[in-house]
């Protein structure tokens, strides 16, 4: 009747009693299957956030926050449920799965959700870190902020009266396990710095919110000379307050936009509408739909004209060190570079496994989640216009009358991503092929996506980028992305 337990049995029993997050995730996927899930997936995430907030060099808040939890998805009879718990024990996880399966079974869908078949992967990946955050003293981190603030203050002659710096570091260890055999461990290291600068000169005011970030370690700050870049932007902000004047342009002119502006255009006007979940209406009540839904009736992928032939737009999560970097997405699919628009034609959408199945193809690894407590959904990573062959100077020398828009302030776009607005912050008049010293105050580009992409006649070979927190879904899931790219020359643009 009684059998002696062998060492493997003992080990298994011990694992059940003292389960860590990874064992619990393995157990969750197995338990989901036992209870009837066609597909189950568990993500254990353990992270430590370190957050410094300073105003004018004085600290307002310094915090370190560890967090752990498991996010679980189950697909039952074609209906999906997602849940999360911060209770890392077997009973809590099983209760959660029972409740997810019950709610999936209470759901009725005419069209069952199906996932694309993808290769199961067992791997481990991590971001490249030379100087881990824990090896940098708290004092050194504080000194960086104080020094940055002091330099901005001095270099701008005190014109930026309100300087707020948010420095955030995050270490995130993730274990993803799926019922179709993927097991992926990842260790990501994020660093970001967000500055909010308010410049005041003789009653005139301008504001600049600048985000920079990377998936690397503390070394990023010196390697990319982040302090110098922020100081440079601060000086430009003050210059804009001091000398920019409103100019009325009666006729359309040429506009050259920097990587800062081309990056936000790539993100808002092309990246978002390329998200397959929007196209298919899943974000209908939140982030909205996509004008691609109508556009895609015009023909097959690769044959729908989006803009001039020199326009190619890429979303690439594989760029090491970039804010939107990952090698495997949150459904375990290997990441790759994606040409959303190639040589002026619609080329590829951003897909997760659900929508890859819907479009009869494979996922291109666009599924991301910003926390264990959020479901993975279709997201961008690093989105940009592919650099061309010209220098920035070559773009400008062929402009008789126009503006160079280096940065922007207010912007927005309708929820089908077609009617957009970008208001310039640092902008100069171009005359007879040269950038003049004349700064234009808040020039407004209020353009459709089509008119932006059709007006581009030259793309520079340079590339700059910054970090943004891209918001989508409900509850909101900001994820780090980079927005950047080359300079673009846009012909015959109405500037207000």
């Amino acid at each position: 009747m009684y059998q002696l337990l062998n060492i493997d049995d003992v080990f298994t029993l011990l694992k059940v009693f003292f389960m860590d997050g990874k064992s619990l995730s393995d157990h969750a996927v197995g338990y989901g299957g036992e209870k009837g899930a066609q597909y189950s997936e568990a993500r254990f995430v353990s992270s430590v956030d370190e957050n410094y907030i300073a105003r004018n060099g004085k600290f307002l808040s310094i915090q370190e926050k560890p967090s752990k939890g498991i996010g679980i998805r189950v697909l039952v009879d074609g209906c999906m449920s997602f849940g999360s718990t911060d209770r890392l024990n077997k009973k809590a996880v099983e209760n959660l799965i029972d409740s997810l399966i019950r709610s999936a079974r209470q759901t009725r869908r005419e069209e069952p959700i199906r996932l694309s078949e993808e290769k199961a992967v067992q791997t481990r990946w991590k971001s490249t870190v030379k100087l881990p955050f824990e090896d940098v003293s708290d004092e050194k981190k504080r000194d960086f902020i104080k020094d940055l603030d002091q330099t901005v203050k001095e270099e701008t002659g005190g014109a930026i009266k309100n300087r707020i710096v948010f420095l955030n570091t995050k270490k995130e260890d993730k274990y993803l396990v799926t019922s179709d055999g993927s097991r992926i461990n990842s260790n990501l290291s994020y660093i970001s710095i967000l500055t909010m600068m308010n410049a005041d000169v003789k009653g005139k005011k301008e504001q600049r919110l600048l985000g920079l970030g990377s998936t690397s370690g503390w070394e990023w700050l010196s390697k990319k000379n982040i302090k110098k870049r922020i100081v440079k932007e601060a000086k430009k902000l003050v210059k804009a307050v001091r000398i920019a004047k409103k100019v009325e342009f009666e006729k359309p002119i040429d506009v050259v936009v920097s990587g800062d502006v081309s990056g936000i255009m790539a993100h808002e006007n092309v990246g978002h509408p390329s998200e397959a979940d929007r196209i298919m209406g899943r974000e209908g009540a939140q982030a909205g739909e996509s004008f691609y839904r109508d556009l895609m009736n015009e023909g097959e992928m690769g044959k729908i004209k989006m803009g001039n032939e020199n326009v190619s737009i890429i979303d690439d999560p594989t760029m090491r060190g970039s804010p939107g970097h990952y090698l495997y997405d949150d459904e375990g699919v290997k990441a790759r570079k994606r040409y959303l628009v190639k040589d002026g034609y619609l080329n590829e959408l951003l897909l997760n496994r659900e929508y890859a199945h819907e479009f009869g193809t494979s996922s291109n690894a666009a599924s991301r989640s910003n926390s264990y407590s959020r479901e993975p959904i279709v997201r961008m990573s690093n989105t940009y216009f592919e650099p061309g062959e010209h220098t920035k100077e070559e773009l400008i020398e062929d402009v008789e009358k126009g503006i160079l828009m280096n940065s922007f302030t207010e912007w927005n776009i309708d929820d089908r991503r077609f009617h957009s607005k970008y208001v310039g912050l640092e902008a100069y008049l171009i005359k007879d092929g040269e950038v003049t010293d004349k700064m234009i105050k808040r020039p407004v580009l209020e353009l459709t996506t089509k008119s932006i992409l059709n007006s581009i006649d030259a793309v520079s070979k340079d590339y700059v980028s910054r970090m943004a927190a891209c918001g989508k879904s409900d509850p909101m899931q900001p994820v780090p992305v980079s927005v950047g790219g080359p300079h673009l020359r846009m012909r015959d643009i109405e500037v207000r």
């Binding site: 307002l60 926050k65 910003n370 302030t409 009617h419 209020e446 409900d474």
Partner: protein, 482 residues
């Protein structure tokens, strides 16, 4: 639910005080929240969040000091062992931190009683989870019958238990329920209508959801065949959804932290006329059914109403004790030195800066509870019929962004049904317009305030807002002409 152990609060506060923290706030939260998301008239996903955590706010420093050392510790799934291990370490860590210039301490007043807040919890939430999918399906059906070709939306519901204890012995425990829905119905490509349901009590929830579905469907149908709007100046009727977003941006500036951060166009305007005299707004943590209503704030201060705008005059800021002290120090020339700076009972453990999820770091800051607008006398129908000048009726908007938050200059994008009103009648649906505005100028141009308040909270409105339809004169609309 069922893990909530109130004794952990006392243990944590005692442990922190014993370890050397001068001031302590313990907040224990157990939450069981659900969401159903739907689109294309089908449920896409059911979600459940199981959360149980203890937040401890700790401070150290002298009473008469410009700022104090602060820290917030979050213990997920707390138990006595975790408290004993982690609290002393966190208090020791305070030693090595610089003072926060934002934190000036709490009051040591003790409070023996708290106001009763009606309608915080409805027992119907207990079995709501089983009813919810059918209610969503019914909402979708109602909307389709009213003209929608497809329906999208979200239904949130759940319950929460919150316990609070401060080092001064203030606090208590209460539980809440909530139900919050957005229904967005589509008729043809580009024509849509949206309605909200925001409630704490679930007695009429089936009817509320069905009404929202039907009205969203009607709006979607009515806004089909929209014509491109012409740029220019119009009078504007804002639905409660739009008003809550635009006026919410104005009201969020009535907070010293927003002023200090350069994110308020109200700085320096206290006591001035900032809007039409028809506008009066309060921060009200006691309003029945308010999604942020509660008997006390995070400092254990009894909840009370605060007037922000009264008859057009900017009358008050929302504060916690610390921000009230800081604000008084920064404005010592203007404020009477003999008057003790007072909290308005708006202290919360909230997030500042770029926030991602509820797991991000929190600290003690003043935050609004519910905004409550004083209703006027006009019905929505009277507002339309009295419109003799070209007027636009906006039912929803999104993507409000500022050129400069200190100046309050912004633009926002209408989404869903938008109509042109001429000669007192809804004439035709419009599309492709953008509202360009200035918060103070719009508040001053407020012409009519409606009489029926609706509670608004959704993707574009964070602070629950009880607001009627509002009419504003002379608003500028632009569009992408190219």
């Amino acid at each position: 639910m069922g893990r909530f152990d109130e004794e952990l609060l006392q243990m944590a506060v005692d442990q922190a005080s014993k370890s050397g923290a001068k001031e302590v706030i313990g907040e224990l939260v157990e939450e069981d929240a659900s969401q159903i998301r739907f689109s294309n008239s089908s449920i896409d996903v059911n979600k459940k969040w199981d959360r149980y955590y203890l937040d401890l706010f700790l401070s150290k420093g002298r009473i008469f000091s410009l700022g104090r050392k602060i820290s917030t510790l979050t213990i997920q799934d707390p138990n006595p062992k975790k408290i004993k291990n982690r609290v002393p370490k966190e208090v020791r860590k305070l030693e090595g931190l610089p003072k926060s210039k934002l934190y000036w301490g709490m009051d040591d007043d003790s409070h023996s009683s708290y106001p009763e807040v009606k309608g915080l919890y409805d027992g119907n939430i207990e079995d709501f989870s089983d009813r919810a999918p059918r209610l969503v399906e019914k909402t979708i059906r109602e909307s389709k019958e009213a003209g929608a070709k497809k329906v999208a939306g979200v239904l949130y519901f759940g319950k929460r238990k919150r316990g609070l204890l401060t080092g001064y012995g203030n606090g208590g425990t209460y539980k809440t329920s909530h139900c919050q829905a957005t229904v967005r119905s589509f008729h043809e490509s580009g024509s849509s209508g949206q309605r909200l349901v925001v409630k704490r009590d679930l007695s009429d929830v089936e009817k509320n959801l069905s009404d929202a579905g039907r009205k969203a469907g009607e709006l979607a149908k009515k806004s089909a065949d929209a014509r491109e709007g012409k740029e220019g100046t119009y009078d504007l009727i804002m639905s409660p959804t739009v008003g809550a977003n635009i006026f919410g941006n104005l009201l969020s500036g009535a907070n010293p932290i927003m002023m200090i951060a350069g994110m308020s166009c109200l700085k320096g305007k206290m006591g001035e006329r900032i809007s039409s005299e028809k506008l009066s707004v309060k921060d009200d943590p006691l309003v029945k059914g308010g999604l942020n209503s509660r008997p006390f704030d995070a400092e254990g201060t009894p909840s009370k109403k605060t007037s922000i705008i009264q008859d057009g005059e900017f009358t008050g800021l929302i504060n916690n004790t610390s921000s009230a002290k800081l604000w008084k120090f920064m404005n010592w020339k203007k404020l009477k030195f003999w008057v003790r700076p007072k909290t308005t009972s708006n202290s919360e453990l909230g997030q500042i800066g770029m926030t991602g999820t509820e797991n991000d770091p929190r600290t003690l800051i003043p935050q609004p509870s519910n905004y409550v607008f004083e209703p006027g006398t006009y019905s929505f129908e009277e507002m339309i019929s009295s419109s003799r000048r070209p007027t636009i009726y906006l039912t929803s908007n999104w993507y409000t962004r500022f050129t400069n938050m200190r100046e309050g200059k912004f633009s926002t994008v209408p989404r869903d049904a938008m109509f042109l009103i001429e000669d007192g009648e809804l004439k035709r649906p419009l599309d492709n317009l953008r509202l360009k505005g200035d918060l103070i100028e719009m508040a001053k141009n407020l012409d009519i305030i409606g009489k029926e308040l609706e509670q608004v909270k959704w993707w574009e409105v964070n602070t629950p807002t009880f607001i009627p339809h509002i009419k504003i004169r002379d608003c500028k609309f632009t569009r992408a002409r190219q």
